[in-house]
Symmetry: C2
Subunit: 404 residues, 2 copies
């Protein structure tokens, strides 16, 4: 038994273990191979925050346990009400299948699919689709309405007089039955899934007399508890190009550094503590951020992608130079108002965004190697072949004149 | 259109009509044949109170509408939580089938099964068994948890801190889906079923854009609102022999007379009002009770049964004579303690009941035609061939001595 691996599994990025840490530790130090699963509803765009649970699953794989990645092909169509203040829109089967493919491609960057003990991928539609009304009633009979209403988010809705759809009470039954169907020893999930995971613990105990361990993993937040998320505007999305992923991590607030290292990388706790101590002592965070950006870009784009992204960052953002390669846009040589130029080249999404960025001083034009700052959105700009339009630190377009 | 029949349908024994009386009246005065259903979960012993809804169904049949008697073969296995302060035990399929046969045999005494427009009998297991988890979620999505919690009995349970089983929230969905599956125009049920019937009204509107009328029929109570029921100890059970049914009605408190006539017979409202006015004027209720007992006994046992039951009542209870026929019991001629004699002959269920009845002066023995009152439960009684043991006004056993 590798004690450092065991410790990583039980402590690092583990918020709570049910029924207890010692119960799971005893199982882990025994000789049995445990069946450990993570269920995910592939419902939207993925960001680094979504990888934290996958890394916990990897810790089990590293200790030789059987890991199962459950795709909620059924549950995703229903929609987990977790942390939604409003009842959620249901997805179609096609949307779910597309999202699932996408999810698995990223999971391959974190779990070891080349190992002989490779992850098993299962779809909960395979058993949940077969359950009848009677089965559902039997599942439901194990819970009281009062127990369901104890969930934080339901309490919040009751207090705000927002409706709780009756079908939302079914979600814990579905996720709970997954544990029964898979007959697992351990379930991993975010802390926001604790209620559902414990519902499964109860059902597994009632249906098979088996005590499942539940490992709740923290959500990825900065040091002040601010979540990483799409709504929060700080998500490092997994579908970004190497350069954009690297840049997106460099743009994160420093408060994310520690948790990102702990929850999203393998960098040792000792090394992380040293970095944090250096930072408190006044060290420049740039070096550590670049290390983080490099590690994560490498995770999803390989070493080549990471090296190139780092070069571009150093050259363009730190060195304030023009990048070696940049996207091009063909335009006619007729003059354009500056804000229209930004919209036509796709550098901004709207006239409004163009105006705002120009007024903030974020826009310039290069003719030859000379950078000319622009700050009048209505300025008429002459269109020259080879000129470069720059927005912010990392958005560029090279103009080619021609007939379009 | 027969106006008196229409009036009977809309007014007599009708507690409430949804969405309105006028909406249903309009449908009834049109030329369409309406599909009208009553759903029953055959879960227990039936008494006269259970016939009130059947009579309302008959009113629709009398106007030429298509009536459907739905046997809740599925729902009865789950159990309606209505008016139960505790979660109810679920029945097995076999129990439900036995109860259904029994129910239909009594329904035949009230509905016209000989008519060409005979009642259709359907079983909700035929469609509810086929629903999948996904279908259930879709049904559930039409309701909020808050709407479910509005039900009186759920409010009561919440306030008394008694659990509401989550499966109990499924019951309105099942009964509601019956309306969709049957595509009905009208549903009939007891007032205690109003919530479930309105759930079906909502679902039918959402699934088929059809507006179902709901007719809520009152529970059978006495003038003070005291229910007829097994628990209340005043139920006139339908499985009684003619004599016992007749006697059981004669034992009802006078307060049941008016409602029994209105809700459980065809006696005209004018005639019932005359009887009630006579009673307020000091008339003896015996005559009216005998009329009621005769009508109901005839309903379930035919004219012959009713005539004989009335004769026995007049002779034995009113005339205090021995009945012409009575059940016999073979005993050895060894003397028996009085209370053991009552138990051995099956006249009482226990030593305790024997003792109580003897002490109340309800027990006597006939030798020849001489009645000897008995009041010592430990008295040793000589067993004679042909002697008669009498308990209360209507329980008799004739003793035959022999080897057993």
């Amino acid at each position: 038994m590798d004690n450092s691996k065991l410790n990583t599994l039980l402590v690092r990025g583990t918020d709570a273990i049910y029924p207890s840490k010692s119960f799971l530790e005893q199982k882990l130090t025994g000789s049995n191979v445990l069946k450990v699963y993570l269920g995910v509803d592939p419902t939207g765009e993925l960001h680094v925050g979504h990888t934290v649970v996958l890394r916990k699953l990897r810790h089990f794989q590293d200790l030789g346990h059987k890991i199962v990645l459950l795709i909620g092909s059924f549950t995703a169509q229903i929609g987990d009400p977790t942390d939604k203040s409003q009842t959620r829109k249901q997805l179609t089967k096609d949307q779910v299948i597309d999202n699932a493919k996408n999810y698995i491609s990223y999971a391959k960057c974190i779990l070891d699919f080349d190992s002989e003990n490779r992850p098993e991928i299962v779809y909960n539609g395979d058993w949940l689709e077969k359950l009848t009304f009677k089965d559902v009633v039997e599942l439901a009979a194990h819970f009281s309405v009062q127990q369901m209403l104890e969930r934080d988010m339901f309490q919040k809705r009751l207090q705000s007089n927002l409706p709780i759809g009756l079908h939302e009470f079914m979600y814990p039954l579905m996720q709970g039955y997954d544990s029964v169907a898979l007959d697992v020893d351990v379930e991993i999930g975010g802390t926001d899934q604790t209620f559902n995971m414990l519902a499964g613990r109860k059902l597994l105990e009632q249906y098979r007399g088996k005590e499942k361990s539940v490992v709740a993993v923290p959500l990825l937040t900065d040091n002040n508890g601010k979540k990483m998320g799409k709504t929060e505007g700080n998500a490092v999305f997994l579908n970004l190009s190497p350069e954009d992923m690297y840049g997106s991590i460099m743009s994160l607030s420093d408060g994310f550094l520690e948790n990102m290292f702990v929850l999203a990388t393998d960098v040792s706790i000792e090394e992380i503590e040293q970095m944090m101590s250096d930072l408190s002592g006044g060290a420049n965070p740039m070096k550590y951020k670049k290390k983080l950006a490099y590690i994560l870009t490498k995770m999803f784009h390989g070493e080549g992608g990471a090296i190139k992204a780092q070069e571009v960052f150093e050259q363009v953002v730190q060195g304030n130079q023009l990048p070696a390669d940049m996207p091009t846009q063909v335009l006619t040589s007729e003059p354009l108002m500056l804000r229209d130029l930004l919209v036509k080249t796709g550098l901004v999404a709207s006239n409004g965004e163009a105006k705002r960025l120009i007024e903030e001083g974020a826009v310039s034009i290069f003719v030859g190697n000379e950078e000319i700052k622009k700050n009048d959105s209505k300025e008429e700009v002459e269109i020259l072949d080879g000129m470069i339009v720059k927005v912010g630190k990392r958005r560029y377009k090279k103009i080619i004149t021609g007939i379009i």
